[in-house]
């Protein structure tokens, strides 16, 4: 497993962790759209942005596949 893959797996694991922990434990006392709703909106944009960072680097291969 490459270091890049390891980094992104840890990053997405972290995102997944806060996806559950923040609303259930930190935002439980905020009965307002600025609580969990805003959190999940920002969280989604962050996750989507991370995916764009990964796949925008992809390119069609200049040479034929090996193997």
């Amino acid at each position: 497993m490459s270091n890049t893959l390891r980094f992104w797996l840890i990053w997405f694991g972290f995102l997944l962790l806060i996806d559950v922990l923040f609303p259930f434990f930190l935002l439980a006392g905020i009965p307002h759209a600025k609580g969990s709703f805003l959190f999940w909106t920002c969280w989604t944009l962050l996750a989507i942005g991370s995916m764009f960072v990964i796949f925008l680097r992809w390119r069609d291969a200049p040479t034929a596949d090996e193997g």
Binding site: M1, S2, T4, L5, W8, L9, F12, L15, L16, D19, V20, P23, F24, L27, A28, G29, I30, P31, H32, A33, G35, S36, F37, W40, T41, W43, T44, L45, A47, I48, S50, M51, F52, I54, F55, L56, R57, W58, R59, D60, A61, P62, T63, D65, E66, G67
Partner: protein, 498 residues
């Protein structure tokens, strides 16, 4: 005339338009299994993105998710965006599916598993899992259509008539040109789904509340319990619903098959990017519908009626409501026809050909696949008809969808291991799929949730343990593992895949 005429007229236009698009797609169709079921791996990026979105987003969104938001609040939003961000798995696994699909000419993920583990049994069991667990999932699409059309048309289109219409259209569009007609009609339907739902949202927010500021103010004032923390979701319910959906993109065959079809890396990027943008917008709209319905019609007997009741309100113009009805019909049919196509390819290749007729010609295999499509459609319809007569939480659309996904989750250890673990074995893959599925089925059928944890979570835990433990004590197909994983290691970097 208007009350009965409008819905049927719009439905007729929709059906005619879809058939015309499918007919154009048919003119480009070549011969063979790859052509029929994978559009010869030559789909462009925009069509792939819209088709991926239409396949993934079903009647569940506008009916089920809106209903779940209505009932349990903001946690429904969290659960759905957790699924959306599960697309990170496509960023990791998609390129791997795509590369080996081209290299080894795979048609389905069951075929991939059978070849990687050098075991026909692995392919057969994987395909059977998909068949068993996708039947309720496809059936709920029909139920969603039934609820919705009956509600919006105020009875002029009955529940059973709506389900029959959807079944027939799905069969026609699947059969006309296979994935080409499905993808093209999906693309058309995705546009209808998004545009009609956004227009309705605008009518709801501006006519019902006077604008977004007042809409949010009413949410904060009138339903604070649905906004606090995860809303009325319990922790175990949230995890139990979200976990199967998180892995949806690599466990559901109608979605994994999409990973084989982009014609280039550029098309693959467009597919993922387009889907993410579409998904985020569509999720927001569905959730807003749920909150809006809760504020405007707070006393519904069933949460699944939130959308039909919302569309029946006078603030939504009749014509718009009928177009939205078609949008949701589109969402459901585009999911059903993709499932029909995937399952028929699995039944033909991974079960019947691999299991009983290895010498079958490609032409016979294709004929068989096409024959299976209407048979499966009838099975979906019968299940939907039966389930639509039930009531209670177990038959709410969202939990039923998640229960189906929980079963499909059992292939995930074998799929992940296929790409990364050379030591993995066929016995381990079989043990995890069968053991995990048995755990899920027993818990689902008995309605048991040990420690309050949902069946999918227990099934996945059992599946992972069995996969690792059995693999460590059995013989791995070393040569194939090296060929498969070695090929990926050599070629991933070339495309800058990670």
């Amino acid at each position: 005339m208007g009350e009965t005429f409008y819905p049927w007229m719009i439905l007729a236009i929709y059906a005619a338009l879809g058939i015309a698009v499918a007919a154009v797609a048919r003119q480009q169709m070549g011969a063979g299994m790859n052509e029929f079921f994978l559009a010869n791996r030559q789909l462009g990026g925009i069509v792939s993105a819209l088709s991926y979105a239409a396949t993934t987003y079903s009647a569940f969104m506008m009916v089920g998710l809106a209903g779940l938001t209505y009932k349990l609040g903001v946690g429904a939003f969290g659960f759905e965006v957790t699924y959306l961000c599960g697309l990170a798995l496509v960023v990791f696994f998609g390129p791997r599916f795509w590369l080996v699909g081209r290299r080894f000419d795979y048609l389905t993920h069951a075929q991939l598993l059978a070849d990687r583990y050098q075991s026909r049994a692995v392919g057969i069991i994987s395909a059977l899992l998909c068949l068993v667990f996708l039947i309720p999932y496809a059936a709920i699409q029909l139920m969603g259509i039934g609820y919705l059309l009956a509600g919006v048309s105020q009875g002029s289109v009955g529940l059973v008539a709506a389900m029959i219409l959807a079944t027939v259209l799905a069969v026609i569009w699947s059969n006309m040109a296979g994935l080409r007609s499905v993808a093209w009609t999906d693309a058309l339907q995705a546009v209808i789904m998004l545009v009609s739902s956004v227009i309705t949202l605008c009518f709801m927010v501006y006519r019902g509340f006077g604008g977004f500021a007042e809409f949010f103010a009413r949410m904060n004032r009138d339903i604070p319990e649905l906004l606090s923390g995860p809303g009325l979701f319990k922790f175990n319910v949230f995890v139990g619903l979200a976990l199967p959906w998180l892995f949806f993109s690599i466990s559901n065959p109608q979605v994994t098959q999409r990973l084989f079809v982009p014609q280039s890396v550029k098309a693959f990027k467009q597919m993922i990017g387009g889907f993410l943008v579409f998904g985020f917008l569509y999720t927001l709209v569905s959730v807003f519908w749920g909150f809006g319905a809760r504020l405007l019609i707070p006393d519904l007997q069933s949460a699944d009626l939130a959308t039909p009741a919302l569309l029946a309100l006078p603030i939504i113009p009749r014509l718009i409501a009928v177009i939205v009805m078609v949008g949701i019909l589109s969402a459901a049919i585009s999911t059903i026809d993709s499932i029909l196509l995937s399952l028929s390819s699995m039944a033909a290749r991974d079960i019947l050909k691999a299991g009983f007729a290895a010498g079958m010609t490609e032409a016979s295999e294709l004929r068989l696949g096409k024959l299976i499509i209407p048979i499966l459609a009838v099975v979906f319809f019968v299940f939907a008809y039966w389930a639509a007569g039930k009531s209670g939480l177990a038959f709410m659309i969202a939990p039923l969808a998640s229960a189906a996904s929980a079963g499909l989750l059992m292939a995930v250890p074998a799929i992940v291991g296929a790409f990364f673990w050379r030591r993995a074995t066929a016995a381990g893959a079989l043990g995890s799929m069968l053991g995990g599925s048995i755990v899920v089925l027993i818990l689902q059928l008995t309605g048991t949730k040990p420690l309050g944890v949902w069946p999918g979570v227990w099934g996945l835990a059992a599946g992972i343990l069995l996969y690792i433990a059995i693999s460590l004590f059995t013989q791995a197909p070393a040569e194939k593992a090296e060929e498969f994983i070695g090929y990926l290691e050599k070629n991933l970097q070339k495309y800058r895949f990670i």
